[in-house]
């Protein structure tokens, strides 16, 4: 079970990120989570949205370079030690993380972590064996 992350190339120039978010706003895209990886010249904006397919289409229409990557969204109790527990399980299972970021929802006492790993299936499998739940794209839309 994966969610679809949209990654967008954004030049490192004043106003470029505002431009992107303004466009998403106009197109009524609702973001659930966002993270930015930056280098000196450019950034990669990674977002989790309610409608990944639509977002990908409208970004391409507007001339953005964007890609869809299936990532894991892990549900966890919003309490100290939760993240450690998950990372320990993955580490013990030999799963290497490329990057990750967190997002909160309106659901009380629950936090979500987006994990980018090489092998989603393997990681999801290891997590579910330990009783940890990953959510799917449809679930994201309703969060």
């Amino acid at each position: 079970m994966t969610v679809k992350q949209i990654s967008v190339f954004v030049e490192n120039k004043a106003g470029k990120l505002a431009e992107l978010t303004e466009y998403l706003h106009e197109q009524k895209i609702d973001m659930r989570a966002l993270s930015i990886a930056e280098t000196q010249d450019f950034g990669i904006v990674r977002i989790i949205v309610d409608d990944a397919y639509k977002t990908s289409c409208i970004l391409k229409e507007a001339g953005y370079v964007a890609s869809i990557t299936p990532v894991l969204a892990v549900e966890m109790p919003d309490e100290p030690g939760s993240l450690f527990r998950i990372l320990k399980i993955l580490g013990d299972g030999g799963v290497n993380l490329e990057y990750m970021y967190a997002f909160l929802t309106r659901k009380e006492d629950t936090a979500y972590m987006v994990l980018r790993v090489e092998d989603n299936e393997k990681a999801a499998d290891i997590l579910s064996k330990s009783g940890i739940h990953t959510i799917c794209q449809d679930a994201v839309a309703n969060l």
Binding site: S7, T39, V65, R116
Partner: protein, 435 residues
């Protein structure tokens, strides 16, 4: 007092120079026709035989040679002497991937070094001087040329090569360098660094011989003032031998072309028609004394004006202005020839689109070059490390092609302006050419 290296040649009468040229041209044309298939074919196609060339007046009958011809003839196609007689190559960049390789026999090296010796003498150099050469050594002609010239004069030669400013300044102070040979932008950088360290009273420089890139009169004054020297311009190109094809004298109003070795013409770059002295056009050279790599009517693409006005220095050889521009799109960055087509070749090889822009600037007296490339779907990844790695591969490939660091900037797709006609590929913010 004006110094000369070979006064009997440098101050010979114009009739004498002309007589040398006539005799050497006839001989060279005959020799290349007999020894080099490339020339034979070219001349046959143009319907001209060695017997048609009796003097410099007949030069116009011969076909031009271009940088593309040099590329097509790479590596040995224009060699006019047996390889066993050749002792050296030097090389410069071509218009695309292939480089231009020039061959030298010992005789050719000697005449090249003599030309450089004339330039050093014109800057006041004698065997009492310490000549500090921080042009690059290696395939680039700057270092080896001035180095050889300095030896001919008998000066103490410091083969510093480029870079390592700290060491340059240290040697300059400790060994008392008197003549500095480098690119004008590096001279300006050195001047600044010397002042920053408060060492301006420790240096003994009296002259600088600066070439391999365009520079302005303002820059000359600036460097002259900061280093308390007289700054002389020098011109040359690897194809014709290297630096020393022409050089400035004390009058500083243009560079004397060594006419006993090189016949200069100025042509209309569009029609190929030869223009009279005093008119602006493309400089064309014929080398008449070289054994290994004589070039007949080589189009330099440099725009300049020739003048035969009497010079106060006593030299009689024709003078050329600083290059006033180019008749092609070649850029000179940090003394290195850069063609946009080379950059385009690398981009396409690396899987980037051919829509790009080159921005050349000069910051703190040092050239910078940046290539803006549009990001593509194929080059993109959600992983910044992967994108950065691809970017690095592009920087490395550009460095391998051009020999200098080029900054790569990935920009949004469609953000580089498309023009209706000829794309504006190059933005040169240096404004180097005057007149």
């Amino acid at each position: 007092m004006e110094h000369y290296y070979q006064p009997e040649i440098e101050c010979a009468s114009q009739e004498q120079i002309r007589a040398w040229q006539d005799e050497r041209l006839v001989k060279t044309v005959k020799r290349v026709y007999e020894n080099v298939e490339f020339y034979r074919k070219k001349m046959d196609e143009a319907g001209v035989k060695p017997g048609d060339i009796h003097s410099v007046d007949d030069l116009y009958k011969l076909p031009f040679l271009t940088k593309d011809d040099l590329r097509d003839a790479y590596p040995y196609g224009l060699l006019a002497a047996p390889l066993s007689d050749c002792v050296r190559i030097q090389s410069t960049s071509g218009t695309t991937g292939r480089r231009v390789v020039a061959f030298y026999t010992q005789h050719d090296l000697d005449l090249w070094e003599e030309c450089c010796a004339r330039a050093i003498a014109a800057a006041g150099g004698t065997n009492e001087d310490v000549v500090h050469v921080c042009y690059g050594y290696g395939l680039f002609t700057g270092g080896p040329g001035l180095n050889g010239g300095s030896h001919k004069i008998g000066s103490l030669t410091l083969p510093m090569s480029s870079g390592n400013t700290e060491r340059q300044i240290q040697f300059m102070c400790d060994l008392g360098s008197t003549i500095l040979c480098c690119t004008p932008s590096y001279a300006a950088y050195l001047a600044e660094s010397i002042w920053e360290r408060g060492l301006q009273d420790k240096i003994k420089l009296k002259a600088g011989i600066f070439g391999a890139e365009a520079w302005t009169e303002e820059m000359r004054h600036d460097v002259e003032e900061k280093l308390r020297i007289k700054a002389y311009d020098i011109y040359g190109l690897t194809e014709i031998s290297g630096p020393g094809v022409s050089f400035e004298c004390s009058e500083q109003t243009g560079m004397h072309i060594n006419e006993d070795h090189f016949i200069a013409e100025v042509i209309n770059p569009k029609t190929g028609e030869v223009l009279p002295d005093g008119e602006k056009g493309e400089l064309v050279f014929t080398s008449i004394t070289k054994e290994a790599f004589p070039l007949i009517r080589y189009r330099t693409r440099d725009i300049c004006i020739l003048s035969r006005k009497k010079c106060s220095c006593g030299r009689t050889h024709v003078k050329m202005t600083k290059p006033l521009g180019r008749s092609d799109d070649m850029l000179i960055v940090k003394g290195v020839n850069v063609f946009p087509s080379q950059i385009e070749t690398v981009l396409l090889n690396q899987g980037y689109p051919a829509n790009y822009q080159i921005i050349v600037d000069r910051q703190n007296n040092s050239d910078t070059i940046e290539v803006q490339v549009e990001m593509t779907q194929e080059m993109f990844s959600d992983n910044a490390g992967i994108v950065a790695k691809r970017e690095k591969a592009l920087v490395d490939a550009l460095k391998a092609m051009l020999g200098i660091y080029v900054k790569v900037k990935l920009v949004n797709p469609k953000s580089i302006a498309r023009s209706e006609g000829k794309a504006v590929r190059v933005i040169d913010r240096r404004n180097l050419y005057q007149g």
